[in-house]
């Protein structure tokens, strides 16, 4: 057990149906302005007809352990929180957009009120012992909030023996989101 938290997510794409409930839950919980989003759903289709494969997945800021957005922020507005997430201090953000140019996942946007915004992993909810809005709403149980420093048995079982990947690991960002690939065989 570690006292230091390191929050991230495990996303089980095998059960994701692409309903976008996570997107709308987030929008309401975090007052995301119309036409913007902090998380989004992707449908990836690959292979050769008729042998096509498809994966649905919910995506958001990866709360990187080595986050270029933090490295390049000139004012410390973008910073690592003590719980392993990456947060933005609005009262320091100049809107210079260096973090947006730096993020290999294009996870950020300029809020119409003049600061840069992105997924906060619902820090305000985690602090109250709640799950994130997206996790709490997902009807298929695809989304899991995980403290990677103290992984519980349920998550370990979920991950065990599966093809699990992280995105653009070669960018050196140490992303904090893990996807259980839809390519896993049934019953794996």
């Amino acid at each position: 057990m570690s006292n230091k938290k390191n929050y991230g997510m495990v996303i089980d794409t095998r059960v994701c149906v692409g309903c976008s409930a996570c997107v709308y839950a987030c929008k309401q919980e975090n007052h995301v302005p119309e036409g913007y989003c902090r998380d989004w759903v992707v449908q990836e289709t690959g292979g050769e007809y008729p042998k096509l494969t498809m994966e649905n997945r919910s995506e958001r800021c990866q709360h990187c352990e080595n986050a270029p957005c933090v490295t390049y922020c000139p004012t410390r507005a973008s910073h690592y929180a003590e719980d392993g997430t990456v947060q933005i201090n609005r009262s320091l953000c100049t809107g210079c957009k260096a973090c947006m140019a730096a993020c290999p996942y294009d996870a950020r946007y300029v809020h119409p009120e003049g600061y840069v915004d992105k997924c906060s992993l619902c820090k305000h909810r985690i602090e109250q012992g709640l799950e994130t809005a997206c996790v709490s709403i997902c009807p298929t149980g695809s989304l899991h909030l995980v403290d990677f420093n103290n992984m519980d048995q349920k998550t370990k079982t979920l991950l065990s023996g599966k093809v699990v990947y992280r995105q653009k690991e070669h960018a050196g960002t140490e992303p904090g989101l893990q996807w259980i690939s839809a390519s896993n065989k049934h019953g794996a």
């Binding site: 036409g35 913007y36 992707v42 449908q43 096509l52 270029p68 000139p74 100049t94």
Partner: protein, 331 residues
């Protein structure tokens, strides 16, 4: 039947200026990079001219009372002025300009924007001091007590000021390029030779500007500096393109996006802008014109070459800033 594998991603992401491609920096940033490059170049050229004249007696005739020739005097004033205007554009680009003070509450050495905002601040005192020293005769005639004092204290050290400034000027010129190089998420930008390219382009644009402003007898030296800078710039552009084309899939794709790209910028494709306007009209043609002039051929409109150089420099900044954003993010 030939089977074709697909890999298609459909996303619900909506964010304006992020999809379909990044569009966070518009005209402000290229203009700032252009003006910053000229400011750095002007500081380099004027400082070197001061040192050459004082240490080696090379260069156009001084104007007496320790004041250098006219072009150096104007150039020294223009350098901090243009950088100031450039920084105004930078300021206007901020989504929250009122928080600009936040830049100066911390030094983040890993952030090019933070390092840059401090370098820019360090630039002004010495650049302004140089502008004052080379124009001291005119300044003294205003008889402003504090100004006279500053000149009295420093006038014997003009060469040292100029020597330091030559280095600061190089620093500013390189900075305008590597500001972009740091973003490894943007494949076109993440090339360190961009610093060199923007430096020489800044020096050549500054020489072109001085060529336009200099009185007739001072012109030949700036024409020579410009021709040399253009020549080095052509080499550097070549290396920049080559480095991109021979790079990884990301870098190669990004360079092709620029040099063969059909994306439209103000009615013309990137490819046309790059080869036709920047390389052709902004480098090759003015180099030829200046070469012919130096060889004694009479050029009917001698101002055409420097104006083309300046336009070429501006187009380069716009192209790099825009094409770097329209190409897809690091994969």
């Amino acid at each position: 039947m030939l089977a074709t594998a697909v890999n298609e991603i459909v996303s619900t992401k909506l964010n304006p200026n992020v999809v379909p491609h990044l569009h966070i920096w518009e005209w402000h940033i290229p203009l700032y990079l252009f003006l910053g490059g000229i400011a750095g170049g002007l500081l380099v050229i004027t400082s070197i001219m001061i040192v050459l004249k004082r240490k080696f007696g090379i260069g156009p005739r001084d104007q007496g009372d320790g004041c250098p020739c006219l072009a150096v005097r104007i150039g020294s004033i223009l350098s901090p002025t243009l950088l100031g205007i450039g920084m105004l554009f930078l300021f206007l680009d901020l989504a929250h300009p009122l928080y600009v003070w936040a830049f100066y509450t911390t030094i983040q050495p890993t952030s090019p924007m933070s390092a840059g905002s401090w370098i820019l601040l360090a630039f002004f005192p010495l650049a302004i001091l140089q502008a004052m020293l080379v124009n001291k005769r005119q300044l003294r005639s205003f008889n402003i007590e504090p100004v006279n004092k500053v000149i009295d204290w420093t006038e014997n050290h003009m060469t040292i000021v100029a020597l330091v400034n030559a280095h600061i000027g190089v620093g500013i010129g390189i900075y305008t390029g590597i500001l972009l190089s740091f973003f490894s998420a943007r494949p076109l930008w993440s090339s360190s030779i961009l610093g060199m390219l923007f430096l020489v382009s800044g020096i050549s644009a500054a020489a072109a500007l001085m060529l336009l402003l200099a009185p007739k007898d001072e012109k030949p030296v700036y024409s020579m500096i410009d021709a040399n800078a253009i020549w080095i710039e052509i080499m550097t552009v070549g290396l920049f393109v080559l480095g991109g084309l021979t790079g990884s899939a990301n870098t190669h794709g990004a360079m092709m996006h620029l040099v063969t790209g059909d994306v439209n910028l103000a009615g013309m494709s990137y490819m046309f802008w790059f080869w036709g306007i920047f390389v052709g009209a902004g480098l090759v043609v003015p180099l030829l014109l200046e070469f012919l002039e130096a060889a004694g051929v009479h050029i009917k409109f001698p101002n055409v070459a420097p104006v083309m150089v300046l336009l070429g420099g501006l187009v380069l900044r716009f192209l790099i800033v825009f094409a770097g954003q329209t190409y897809h993010t690091f994969m």
